[in-house]
Amino acid sequence: MFKAQNYAKVTSLTEALELNKKRTNKVLGGGCWMKMGKKNINTLIDLSGLGLDKITETDDEIIIGSLVTLRDIETSPVIEKNFGNFFKDAFTHIVGVQFRNCATIGGSVFSRFGFSDIVTSLIVLDTKIELAGGETVSMEEYSERDYDNDIVVNIHIKKGGRKAAYESFRNTQTDIPVLNCSLAYDGKKLYAAVGARPMRGKVSTMDCPDVENSEEVFKFFEKIQAETEFGTNTRASKEYRKHLSLVLLKRVYKKLVCKEGDAK
């Protein structure tokens, strides 16, 4: 458990930014992962007074506040309408309902854990991360960044552009994944990400006028398998992860084209 001296429930992002300049101060997400650390924190910065716990739909995007919980996203009708079961598939194995009622999207995005299902799912959609101070970066770029004292405010996902599907493999149902992958298609391009390698998901793209052409798509997957870096940890060896990557990509493809078929 971390230790904290002070607590500040901020009333504005400016206040949060100011406090967060100090390295020993930390922004509080849901607390589920943070509590497993042993940090000595000076001031805990709580954004829960800023109304960032809402999912809003505009004409061209979905905006998810950083304090929206994983479970909120899973059960949101707006999310379901726009992305079907994509996020449900991605989040459903994360520990349990109670955990997902606590863990926040902002905390997950900021943490960018190597095993993250959140990063691997968001990264294949047209996702932008809005940081306090006005900067907006793509999920892809944010995933590559070093940890800094930025504050995740909102997650913007473009509507209507991409259909996506998600697969993960876990040694047990509620464990963190041995490997996860997502695949999205916008009518022209395929976007594939393989995560929990045990490193974060990275996007590979392929020009793909005909998504039903599985031969071409599988070549693309084999290329991903050959070029992606995999690692070994307590859950699995890099050889196994490499083996699994192709299995999961093919499965997620099947799921995606089935969905496409349904849409037609």
């Binding site: 493999f169 040694n171 047990t172 149902q173 509620t174 041995v178 307590t234 699995a236 083996h243 699994l244």
Partner: protein, 761 residues
């Protein structure tokens, strides 16, 4: 019979399901000191200097103890009958640290924050030594885990600490080498099992205080209150008469709490400071420094005729005691006795073993207690020879299994009085529909459905060692107080023993008042382990109730003014057989509290010269995904012979729970150490016990035999039920893939990569 063999709700159930404060941690005195341990980061090291001055200055710190402050008497933390077979190889705190997490210092403070701060300020200089981590290289290794002179082995366990041998043994029935020579087929195989964590939901915890009589009171989540009293007295060098141990409700044990894991630390703090003290282990501590299952390597030679008659078995087991020998010399015996004895027609059998010290965490008692490992090895070897001979693995068992009426040569020569293993086999096959499912089917989605089988046995108490006492009193108005010293750890023994008492006394179960153990008040009992409670303590209860019945009859007849032979007792009244004139139990109760009568109570001891085995057959049906290697147990059929089933609900839940723990052992639970010898996966985040979505259905049926030496014909059930999943699942995986995996757990990775390799060839 009204209660025995019925579905009875546990007497304490409603307080548990409504969340009442009945566990150790719920009743800690307000002013208790918080006790925490500084633990060794090294697997093997010597403390060259330890400085607590800065830590002592933290406001709120009451005391800090190091190896300089503790008694120098070595003891074992294994909760066993004296003289314990486990060597005396521990101190409360030692200068030499033998595994990562070994305690270095004890801190007691007013609150958790102060204790945590003090832990950080203790300055320790370690002479870091190379650890001995590979137990297969332990014997005669230049690293000696226990170099100390005051090490002591009380029993003849062939201990040789200078060779890192905690114990060794060998027995042979017939001539194995000769018998193997005469077999058509002989297989030689090696099997490996890892340590497993019991992972009971309530971690280790204890609080202590000095009571109004100046005695040390120990309130602890333990399975062995009387052993705790004796062990603490030895460890603290204080008289046994000065210690009282109380066991509240326990949040699970599974053998973990058959060792003194947490008691000694608050106890010594209370002795030093006079203040109440409380320790609660974190999940991490419970996993790195608890009392897990012994890691083992087993070599099996098995020989059979071409027609499937198994003639000889030779089993050698190497067990990793880890840093301390708790339960080391005793668990190993079960590896042989409770696996080989499943087979009744062997011409010869041999079992040899060594238990060795290393610098991994010390082992302990975990449900199954060696039988689990031995049965995994022997049952897998039988499945391998069945495959070799192209015989259905159920059929080879039907041909060779032990039968009622046989003498079990490899089981201390005990008679097999009660055994329905044959019926269990038939039932389990029917439950899973073996004949249409064996060996495997390919599904449309590419997955493979397959089945696998195993048999198992255990004991019922430790013959000639376990002893139980029961006491029962008649109170005014005719209700009874049942006093027992065995510990209900959620298993329901308080209830099942009350069921037996109610049936013996022909009364309503609500007329039996029962409570948890208090060593000052409860009659002596070795404790709840070795599957002894129902069988051994149950018999003590039956005998005690019979004695009390006689006394009630005697007093009733006296009140009626007739000879004892002329009256009878029907549970509600004593009546004159001739006239029908009666005196009610309530009246007898009141009368027994009056001056000119005797108050009525009875007390009996029971121990058994034999330990009748319960038996079972388990069949696993799995769904295997050949691409990922993922195995799900979709269905599990268990047919169990535990003699008479005392409580149908509880026996069923014991079986289901044991099987799921066994599934965890077979497929997921995978203790790993890093290069420095620290356990990596010491949390529920990393050490995955089965969650409900990991499982399919589990079906349980009972094929009851009648054990003539047991209470109401009962035998044990608690441990037996963990033994079949590992070999049955291993067999099912073979039937799906054509590959035998010989190390547990069998993870998806091994299966997928082996299948991929097979495909490439």
């Amino acid at each position: 019979m009204k209660y025995v063999n019925a579905h009875i709700r546990k007497k304490d159930a409603m307080s548990l399901v409504t969340g009442k404060p009945v566990y150790t941690g719920d009743i800690v005195p307000q002013n208790a000191l918080v006790v925490k341990l500084l633990r060794s980061p090294h697997a093997r090291a010597e403390i060259t200097d330890i400085n607590t001055a800065a830590a002592m200055k933290v406001p709120g710190v009451e005391c800090i103890l190091t190896y300089k402050d503790v008694p120098n008497s070595r003891f074992t933390t294994a909760g066993q009958t004296y003289p314990e077979p486990s060597p005396y190889d521990r101190l409360i705190l030692d200068k030499l640290l033998r595994c990562a997490g070994d305690p270095v210092a004890i801190v007691a403070a007013e609150n958790e924050k102060a204790a945590d701060k003090a832990l950080k300020l203790i300055k320790v200089k370690y002479n870091i030594l190379e650890p001995l981590m590979d137990f297969t290289k332990a014997i005669d290794n230049p690293i000696i885990v226990h170099p100390e002179d005051n090490f002591k082995a009380l029993c003849n366990t062939r201990t040789d600490k200078d060779r890192n041998i905690c114990s060794s043994d060998v027995f042979e029935v017939g001539n194995v080498e000769e018998a193997l020579k005469n077999c058509d087929v002989v297989l030689e195989r090696t099997y490996n099992t890892k340590a497993n964590s019991q992972a009971m939901m309530e971690t280790f915890r204890t609080f202590t205080y000095i009571d109004e009589y100046g005695r040390l009171n120990v309130v602890s989540s333990t399975q062995v209150p009387f052993h705790v009293r004796r062990i603490l007295s030895d460890a603290l060098e204080i008289p046994k008469s000065k210690i009282r141990v109380v066991k509240p409700r326990i949040g699970g044990g599974f053998g973990a709490k058959q060792s003194v894991v947490s008691e000694q630390f608050p106890a010594i703090v209370t002795m030093k400071t006079g203040r109440a003290a409380y320790i609660v282990y974190t999940r991490g501590e419970s996993m790195t420094n608890g009392s897990p299952r012994h890691q083992m390597q087993m070599k099996v030679r098995i020989g059979a005729d071409r027609d499937g008659r198994i003639k000889a078995m030779d089993l050698y087991a190497l067990s990793n005691a880890g840093a301390y020998g708790d339960h080391g010399p005793t668990t190993i015996g079960l590896v042989g006795h409770k696996s080989l004895s499943l087979y009744g027609n062997l011409e010869a059998a041999r079992f040899a073993c060594d238990v060795v010290y290393t610098n991994t965490m010390g082992g302990g008692a975990y449900r199954g207690y060696g039988a689990t490992q031995g049965i995994y090895a022997i049952e897998t070897a039988v499945n391998e020879i069945a495959a070799e001979l192209n015989i259905d693995p159920c059929k080879i068992r039907e041909m060779n299994m032990v039968k009622e009426g046989q003498t079990m040569e490899t089981y201390y020569g005990e008679p097999c009085n009660s055994c329905t293993l044959d019926k269990c086999m038939a039932k389990a096959k029917e439950m899973i529909d073996w004949d249409s499912k064996y060996p495997a089917k390919k599904l449309d989605n590419g997955h493979i459905r397959s089945v696998g089988v195993a048999m198992a046995m255990q004991g019922s108490g430790i013959s000639g060692v376990d002893i139980a006492n029961a006491e029962i009193r008649l109170n005014d108005d005719g209700f009874y107080t049942l006093l027992i010293g065995c510990t209900d750890m959620g298993t329901g023994c308080d209830t099942i023993l009350s069921q037996m008492a109610a049936d013996c006394l022909d009364c309503d179960i609500d007329k039996i008042a029962v409570r948890g153990v208090d060593t000052d008040q409860s009659p002596y009992d070795t404790g709840s382990y070795a599957s002894s409670t129902t069988y051994v303590t149950g018999m003590a209860v039956v005998k005690t109730c019979q004695e009390l019945r006689e006394k009630i009859l005697e007093t009733g007849c006296k009140l009626l003014g007739i000879d004892k032979e002329k009256g009878d007792f029907d549970g509600e009244k004593v009546f004159d057989l001739e006239t029908g004139k009666s005196v009610s139990l309530s009246e007898i109760g009141y009368a027994s509290f009056e001056g000119h009568n005797k108050s009525l109570s009875a007390s009996c001891s029971h121990s058994s010269p034999i330990s009748p085995p319960p038996f079972m057959v388990g069949i696993a049906e799995i769904d295997l995904d050949p691409e990922t290697g993922y195995v799900q147990v979709v269905d599990y059929a268990a047919a169990v012979d535990c003699g008479t089933v005392v409580n149908r609900n509880l026996a069923r839940v014991q079986t289901e729970g044991g099987i799921v723990q066994g599934i965890g052992m077979a497929l997921y639970e995978d203790i790993q150490y890093n290069e420095q010898g620290r356990m990596i996966n010491n949390s529920f985040l990393q050490y995955k016990i089965p969650a409900r979505t990991d499982l399919g259905t589990i079906k349980v049926e009972f094929e009851s035999s009648y054990e003539p030496t047991g209470p109401f014909g009962a035998k044990s059930i608690g441990e037996l039920v963990i033994n079949t999943p590992s070999p049955a699942i291993t067999d099912a995986i073979y039937n799906a893939t054509g590959l035998f995996f010989r190390s547990l757990p069998i993870k998806a990775e091994q299966i997928a990569l082996a299948l991929a390799e097979k495909k490439d060839k």
